[in-house]
């Protein structure tokens, strides 16, 4: 028995580590060394087709990207294949470890710093023909260490969504749409009834950060070189949100039994919510009976403020055919392609030249695009995503917490990243 036990123990132990580490070794990273060099000329091995890896929101998006890539492949004469990742981060990481990554892929702002710092990405931003057409705030979201890495695919901003039926029932009119913090607090109170809270939103930085932006604060300065998390502006923003929570006129979506702000709003658990333009898809599909309108978020003490969310088209440093990849990305970010994408699955074009057409096609969603002028992005530093998720964890108990202490710990964590 003794023998068998110890063997069982060793076996079991090895299985643990094996299970945890097999994935780390990825698909055949093997023992091959030698790494592709970046900088200088782009590779252009035209014998190789392009692989495009996307994290799709659904069939509509997959079909639209497939069609756009197929159209490009036909005119360019290069083969290109789109695959949909089930877990984009994991599949990208495996590709980079194996040095056989997808040539072109979706890349989030959170992941940029990590991949840029380990040399997996091609910094092709400055080679783009349509470089100056992108919104400057989006360009800075994809600039790491002074290099503009990748072309923004599209973007979203947060704005205020209002249930027009609840609004009318409470006796409010268009002139009551809040433009200041005080007005927001007032209408939230008016809209709060026994079965419905005035305003509901997710308990995370990606929503509450809008209040911090309206107060003139942000987690880091524009170039992500200095942490400014515990600035008086940020504290003021969070304390305002705290007041709304404690007055009972604003709730976290999770507190009223919804997964996110859109669900709370769609189920009419709240009369208003703060969400991005992705909510329109959910409203049409899941809650077609709810009438709503979109308004710009009220201005705080330092004017208007909101947060932006964006993804870019990354190109791998190890791609054998970067020239073709660049050409494909220019095509995919062109005005026509972006307006088609917008029509098919709803994102906002990342280029300024498409703004007017988009606004006339989507008159009710104009506030989202107007947000581009004053929106702020997330910090671009490796490890910032961890700090933000730590902040999110603390924001869940903002109601009873101390805004200043929460931001102080975030400040400490951000400063540690810069060392």
């Amino acid at each position: 028995m003794q023998r068998r036990n110890s063997r069982l123990l060793i076996g079991a132990g090895l299985t643990v580590v094996g299970a945890l580490t097999l994935s780390a070794c990825g698909s055949g990273s093997g023992f091959s060394s030698g790494s592709a060099t970046t900088g200088g000329e782009l590779t252009s091995d035209s014998s190789q087709g392009l692989s495009v890896l996307i994290g799709s929101s659904g069939d509509a998006e997959t079909a639209a990207v497939n069609a756009a890539v197929a159209a490009w492949a036909e005119t360019a004469g290069t083969k290109a294949e789109v695959s949909v990742a089930s877990d984009l981060n994991q599949q990208l990481a495996q590709g980079f470890a194996a040095q056989k990554p997808a040539d072109v892929f979706y890349l989030s702002t959170d992941a940029l710093a990590g991949y840029a710092s380990n040399g997996s990405l091609l910094a092709y931003g400055d080679d783009l023909a349509n470089k100056d057409d992108f919104y400057p705030s989006l360009v800075s979201a994809f600039t790491y260490d002074g290099d503009f890495y990748c072309a923004p695919k599209d973007f979203s901003t947060l704005q205020l969504l209002i249930n027009t039926d609840s609004w009318a029932k409470a006796g409010l009119t268009d002139s009551d749409i809040p433009t200041t913090w005080d007005e927001l607090a007032t209408v939230s109170a008016t809209l709060t009834t026994g079965s419905q809270v005035g305003l509901a939103l997710g308990s995370e930085y990606a929503r509450l950060g809008a209040f911090m932006a309206q107060a003139g604060g942000s987690l880091m300065n524009k170039d992500s070189t200095e942490a400014t998390a515990n600035s008086p502006e940020n504290v003021a923003g969070l304390e305002y949100a705290q007041t709304l929570l404690n007055d009972g006129v604003m709730s976290y979506a999770s507190e009223i039994g919804a997964g996110w702000g859109g669900e709370a709003f769609g189920k009419q658990l709240s009369a208003m919510t703060i969400e991005g333009n992705w909510i329109t898809g959910a409203m049409t599909n899941d809650f077609p009976d709810v009438n709503y309108t979109v308004a710009e978020l009220p201005a705080g003490p330092e004017g208007k403020g909101t947060l932006q969310f964006t993804n870019c088209w990354g190109i791998a440093a190890d791609s054998p055919n970067q020239t073709a990849a660049l050409d494909l990305v220019e095509q995919l970010t062109s005005k026509d392609a972006q307006l088609t994408f917008s029509e098919e699955f709803g994102p906002m074009p990342s280029i300024m030249s498409a703004a007017d057409e988009w606004k006339s096609a989507n008159p009710t969603l104009v506030p989202f695009l107007d947000g581009a002028e004053y929106a702020k992005g997330v910090p671009v530093v490796q490890g910032a995503a961890d700090v933000v998720s730590d902040l999110n964890a603390q924001l869940e108990s903002l109601k009873t917490g101390n805004a200043r202490a929460i931001l102080d710990s975030t400040q400490k964590n951000l400063e540690a990243l810069l060392k």
């Binding site: 990273s29 999770s254 603390q394």
Partner: protein, 364 residues
């Protein structure tokens, strides 16, 4: 000189045995080596290197950084240490509750369905085993529905007048809530001011969060069926004559279970507790599909943290280091419980009990 002396033994009828032995085990050795030993060694190297996820970890650009990855986790003072401490805290409470509860419950169920007089034993055995053969992802999704704010569990609780918590969104610790019920909202300064692995002792004492408690219930629900099967097998192996002898000696059912049956189940108990410990320390899929560490990081576990560090943050060395620390923890726990379950000579105090039996019988 010694060669000729050994020759005869080799050329005998058993001469080729060693070679064929190796030959027969070679496929397994090669498979285990390829898919277990080499990856484990690679990961061990990664945990001591600054490999950042691009290209081979053995390429020239990857440097040896000594214990840097480990020290960032156990003494770095930063977010990494704090997250690791939180993950360990969460998982320790999980293990502390899951392992004893599932062992006791599975033994209880096994004894129940092992009784000869129970009708429809087959049905009960299948029913109890059912959760174990269902995919943990499916059960997690089921759990998310059952334990949602307006889900079936809370509906059920409302029938008996209990206002159920918002399970998977409630980060408050169960022990803290109990302390709170007695008016203790903040801990004494001795606990709140001193920290271990980046979180204060008061936080260590938070207990599992309400969200984690739902996962604890789920683990007990899914695994007790498997362990019940192991206990049934062991119970059926016990010879009837020992039990019969106990009956003759006048032991009642309760005594027979504790003094006769349970000691004979010791090897099975060891297996069950070991497997339970390993499974509970490695909890990953429920977290990955269910909460991804939230709410308030109270369902973060070392296995999930390791995945997150490597795949989303490109901190591969740290991810591997977490895996190895977890490995050491599991080994230490297993050794400890093996020591606990080792068969000892009966203590003098216990012995007296047995020696007195005939005397007390005689005085009747």
């Amino acid at each position: 000189m010694s060669m000729p002396a050994r020759m005869p033994r080799r050329s005998g009828i058993r001469g080729g045995e060693a070679a064929s032995g190796w030959l027969f085990t070679a496929p397994m050795i090669i498979l285990l080596g390829m898919f277990l030993v080499i990856p484990v060694l690679m990961a061990l190297w990664v945990s001591f290197s600054d490999w950042n996820g691009r290209g081979s970890p053995f390429s020239g650009s990857v440097a040896f950084v000594g214990l840097d990855n480990y020290s960032a986790l156990v003494g770095g003072g930063g977010l990494a240490e704090q997250d690791f401490g939180t993950a360990l805290r969460n998982n320790a409470w999980y293990v502390l509750l899951v392992v004893p509860i599932q062992t006791m419950l599975s033994l209880f169920l096994a004894v129940l369905v092992n009784r000869q007089i129970l009708r429809g034993r087959g049905f009960f055995r299948t029913a109890f085993y059912f959760p174990s053969v269902t995919s943990s992802v499916a059960i997690t999704v089921l759990w998310l529905f059952l334990f949602s704010a307006s889900g079936a569990v809370n509906k059920l609780l409302s029938f008996i007048g209990v206002n159920g918590p918002n399970w998977f969104n409630d980060p408050s610790g169960v022990l803290h809530n109990i302390f709170g019920a007695f008016g203790v909202e903040t801990g004494p300064a001795a606990l709140t001011d001193n920290t271990f692995l980046g979180i204060s002792f008061w936080e260590w004492l938070a207990g599992p969060s309400v969200a984690m408690s739902a996962f604890i219930l789920m683990a007990v629900f899914t695994t007790s069926g498997t362990f019940m099967l192991l206990f049934i097998a062991a119970l059926q192996n016990l010879s009837g004559d020992v039990a019969e002898a106990a009956v003759m000696d006048g032991a009642n059912g309760w005594q027979r279970f504790w003094q006769v049956t349970l000691p004979q189940l010791r090897p099975t108990l060891f297996t069950v507790v070991t497997l339970g410990l390993i499974g509970a320390w490695q909890v990953f899929d429920q977290i990955y599909t269910g909460t991804q560490g939230g709410p308030g990081k109270t369902t973060l576990t070392p296995a999930y943290l390791s995945y997150q560090a490597a795949f989303t943050n490109q901190a591969w060395g740290q991810g591997a280091a977490i895996a190895f620390i977890l490995f050491v923890i599991i080994v230490v726990f297993t050794l400890f419980q093996r020591w606990l379950l080792v068969e000892r000579t009966v203590s003098a105090r216990r012995m007296r009990l047995y020696l007195q039996t005939p005397t007390s019988g005689g005085s009747k």
